[in-house]
Symmetry: D3
Subunit: 162 residues, 6 copies
């Protein structure tokens, strides 16, 4: 067994949701999950079929994201994993719907940060072991940092500013 | 620390759902989740108790699946992990209910493919790191492949064929 | 790439929920998830911001748990991971609410057992690969063990004793 | 405004789930919800389109249930209400999936009992006000009745009999 | 058909959750939902069986709440309705779990206010039509009222006070 | 007791979601539910406080919708009911999130159609009994109608057109 690190390709302004599912219908059901949640979102979902023809199964409404999602899925090479790239929508909008998709097992990460995926390679294939999502923390927030955090979340409107 | 690969035993026609939970009640709650969702499903759930007596805790309504689930759980040896084997039911029927179970943390995979589980072994015990689920993709689907996929999903009745 | 094992610090009587999320609002949303579910619970949530200032972001209502959560998050050093420590509440009370939090991707474990987290370290940062949660199983339960298990779960009131 | 009572037609051995939704896609999404949950279930869903052509929109895999669902939907005449009739499956299998359907607002009842639906009729149309589901209680259970209830639920396998 | 108004009996300090479900297992499943969510909550659930023996089916861990829940269920007399009375817990803690219960169709109200339930009475039985929950609004809040509201919700700790 | 019919005011291009909840925090939590789901949505939520000051509690990011939501809530006069008006978003995007809101009991309707709400008025206050949502069905769809329905849902992109 060998360990590998594969870097995900995340187009400018896009977010990545990386997960594990279990059936080729995943591509179509995640398409519906996005389209039914955020009107106007651009996205592509690529799912690694893991038996039979073993093709990367894709649904998308954006050519650039489609190419990137397919490339990421192939780079991972892990059966039943999926890559969802989104623009004009954010993971916070979609994670619940992705998780509730009939075929989805788990979500490894959701991020716009640089992502390295740690894989194990065996004779049979690849396993996703984990994800380096952005950078490690440099310290613990102070009361002033926490205040700034609260203000930022309120300034972008995600929480109310009473 | 050492890395191991353990192959899951999946009886003919069965599917495997592999996950992490946190309390011996998991065995009983997953039993209820299956029984309340798919009438007539055959299944076995084995949960690795991780403190005290440290026994593999099992509920099932099928002897063959029970033996296989117990063997898989022991082969994994990872505390608080669970193995659910099902027949006459499919992961797509059950994943939502399994995930909503009060004790379930996450689901590593759901599959009828050959499965290798990658484990880390420390002095304390075993950690599930990831899963090789079936084979790696051999290429990206073409428009013709996508058409076949859509037709197949509709032929088996999971989506409507207008 | 190097593999590391990091031991979590779980104060007496506390439980740990360890997961992956994706935005600094996670700290505040998990605070609300706990406060809105178990009246009187003591807890701390620490989230590893993975871009910009890269600070450990914390919300809590208990000083000891706050220090331990921050120390655990720093020891992990994995971007977008979170540590939730709770007292006077149990994972079974909270897992559903934690999972439904808008930002949460997945939950690695929920436990009061000794926990070792297996990490991969790359130049970019840390990835959580898996968790040794308590001890490995020592055997398979007998019918008598199962009876005791059923009785125990009923004695603590989690299932009815008809 | 006038109050009406309309009796639902429930074919032998079928169960009725009656609810409110909000878009013609409801028929197709409920079809998928059933098919993805209980393999082999027979069912029909009828949804009252409430604008434009105002047709009863139907998906089903059983002719008798289709006719009954259509007749019930027409008898109700309430915009955006839906009638789901199922055989070889039970409401307990399906309610969660029906509720999670993107278009579903609420579920009035789920039952195999005789059902009278109370409607208000205005110039504009019909409103479902409530449901007489079976009979009124004749008394409060005794300890012996409760014991029988627990035993029955366990005898049919929905709870474990330790 | 006749319309009735029935006043619910809510013991001091208790909250009422009133809903519709569809099987006698409801009583036991709601018992588990409460016990698994809020440690130490006092409660009683009464469910109106609507066929066969037609008994009020009850689970509880508090005698006063048991008597009140049974009295309310009998006063309603509506098949498949349930009454959940809770102390040392609040609807906000429990509504999600109650809604996710396998048997639950809908929740009419959750409140500590005086409650009148509007019923239709037919030859067959009773239908719950709706609920007068507390008092009607006396006006629209001003900016100052909104500020007080925000402060109150933060003072009781349900939202953070940055 | 008297029955009333009240017509909802739905501004051009807006959709209405009408429901029952149980605490003044509803206004703020529904605000967050919308903002975290559909970027750029315009909306207003009005909640009828049912005890103490008994004010219509409102959060919004659009003045016209705010006025309409407040007017609707006052016209209803039913304690603990809420009115959510949305533009640039659709009920299908939001219903799941609204339902999962900690305080929400049920959703009466979600629609852009003309809506009449049927109320009971007692000395204590108002109860929402049901909703006339658009028009009654004029007939049952033919195979050709069903084909058009399938095509329409696919043309607007909510389902895939294989």
């Amino acid at each position: 067994m060998e360990l590998l690190s594969v870097r995900m390709q995340i187009p400018d302004g896009a977010n990545l949701i990386l997960g594990q599912a279990h059936f080729i219908k995943t591509a179509e059901d995640l398409y519906e999950a996005v389209v039914n949640t955020v009107p106007g979102a651009k996205f592509a979902v690529a799912f690694n079929e893991a038996s039979g023809p073993c093709l990367v199964r894709i649904e998308s409404n954006d050519e650039e994201l489609r190419r990137a999602a397919a490339a990421n899925a192939q780079a991972l090479g892990a059966g039943h994993s999926f890559v969802l790239l989104i623009r004009d929508a954010y993971p916070v909008n979609l994670l619940g719907r992705v998780r509730d998709c009939f075929e989805v097992c788990s979500i490894f990460c959701a991020t716009a940060n640089p992502v390295e995926v740690i894989l194990a390679q065996t004779e049979q294939g690849h396993a996703i072991l984990g994800v380096v999502d952005g950078s490690s923390p440099k310290g613990v927030e102070t009361a002033a940092d926490a205040k700034q955090r609260h203000e930022f979340v309120r300034k972008i409107g995600y929480k109310l500013q009473p």
